[in-house]
Amino acid sequence: MRGAASALALAGFLAVLALVCVAAMVYGEWFDRRLLSSGALGVLLVLYAAIVVLFRKAGITAEE
């Protein structure tokens, strides 16, 4: 049960993240800020990597 809930939460989070990315890209193209929005995307991805490490260090995710 808890597994399903947290998986759903994660899926929701990822979906929102994907939407944010799409929005950022449309924004960048529209206002001629391509480099800004793609840079932000990059930062997001790197942060996401950092989150994966932090989760592991905090013991939230385990070694598979």
Partner: protein, 391 residues
């Protein structure tokens, strides 16, 4: 001397791991996945390359303009171009790390030489695809690289002029030049996949992807680099112009920097010599079996009488060194009497690790210099030893 150096480098390489694992969980250590990282960046290169290819026009008049169009007018074209460029650099970093790590941790000789050789050929083709990429833009840098390369090739004895003509597609730069460069860029890149088959053929499930953290981090880094340092062209190439210098991509264009101090032909000779040395590394300074000690216990041997054809060894051998063949005759032991298959060890692939011995439940495999029988004796002695007084 050289050997001591290698031992020192091995110790340092493993000490680096200790340091990394103080910061990161063990299975996140990027140095355990250098091959996977190279493959990740190669995949990015192929995907972004296909997108760029859709817009590229291989002609003297059109090439520069088509790249400019991609950079300015295509949605996120500049980002794709940047990602393609920085993925190429990241790819080279990854393969060099991979090369040195495999070298320093002794994973390159004896039965592993085939992976090393295919790796060196991968390196040659990667370098080729990398530098020809800079020719395609047809800006001043492309022009300089072309003329330096032609000079270098011309100075090759006997076949030099012919090589130079093959390179630019005629006696001089002409309309055939850029289509040829395009092929010299895409051709070697595609050949990499054939070579990777050779690289992997002796590895059982090679780890071709790094863990998710590194995929995320790697992609993020590429996006950031592509935005902070957007990839641009120099001034367009002018027939007859002789530009002073060009921005250098140190991972692919360093031989051209050498050309500042030596004739281009010598720079080429130096690159060829380095790569040739790389190819013989596994065969220099071979160790004697005594020096290799426990790592030279002889290649695994199947005991025909006992093998039941259960395939367990076949599934565990990390180097695909065991083949299951139709059994020519039944085995002797009771379990082996009705076998359909027989295990066969391919000597040239076996690294003498003994993993198959641990897999075999039927005492049908042995490492010649560490027999089951002897190990059993040592176990019994250890388990029953009278309390030894000595310390």
């Amino acid at each position: 001397m050289y050997r001591r150096l290698l031992t020192g480098l091995q110790s340092a390489t493993l000490r680096l791991d200790v340091g990394i694992q103080r910061v990161l969980p063990q299975d996140f250590n990027p140095l355990y996945y250098t091959g996977g990282l190279a493959n990740l960046f190669l995949t990015v290169l192929v995907v972004s390359g296909i997108l760029i290819f859709l817009y590229y026009e291989p002609s003297l008049e059109g090439a520069y303009a088509s790249v400019e169009f991609l950079t300015r007018d295509v949605p996120y074209g500049v980002v794709f171009r940047g990602i393609h460029r920085y993925a190429a650099d990241a790819y080279m970093v990854a393969i060099l790390l991979h090369l040195f790590r495999n070298w320093f941790t002794d994973r390159y000789r004896e039965a592993r030489d085939s992976q090393w050789l295919s790796g060196m050929v991968l390196l040659v083709f990667s370098g080729l695809a990398g530098f020809t990429g800079y020719l395609l833009v047809w800006d001043e840098r492309s022009q300089m690289l072309t003329s330096l390369t032609v000079q270098a090739l011309r100075s090759v004895p006997l076949v030099g002029h012919w090589l130079a003509e093959v390179f630019v597609g005629g006696p001089g730069v002409s309309d055939t030049t850029l289509p040829r460069f395009l092929f010299l860029h895409v051709g070697p890149a595609m050949a990499l996949y054939v070579l990777l088959w050779w690289h992997y053929v002796r590895l059982r499930h090679p780890k071709i992807w790094p863990p998710a953290v590194w995929v995320l981090f790697g992609l993020g880094l590429l996006f950031i680099l592509a935005s902070v340092l957007p990839a641009t062209s120099g001034r367009p190439a002018q027939p007859g112009a002789s530009p002073e210098g060009f921005p250098v991509d140190w991972f692919y264009l360093w031989p051209y920097v050498l050309a500042r101090w030596m004739a281009p032909g010598w720079a080429l000779a130096l690159v060829v010599a380095l790569l040739a040395y790389g190819m013989v590394i596994p065969y220099t300074l071979r160790e004697t079996p005594e020096e290799r000690g426990l790592r030279a216990l002889g290649q695994a041997v199947v005991v025909d009488e006992n093998c039941t054809g259960c395939e367990l060894c076949y599934y565990d051998c990390p180097y695909n060194a065991i083949y299951m063949v139709p059994s020519p005759a039944p085995g002797k032991s009771r379990a082996a009497a009705n076998r359909k298959l027989l295990a066969v060890v391919v000597d040239s692939r076996c690294v003498e690790c003994g993993i198959c011995i641990g897999a075999c439940p039927f005492e049908a495999l042995e490492l010649p210099r560490m027999l089951d029988r002897d190990v059993q004796q040592r176990i019994q002695r250890g388990a029953q030893a009278p309390a030894a007084a000595a310390t």
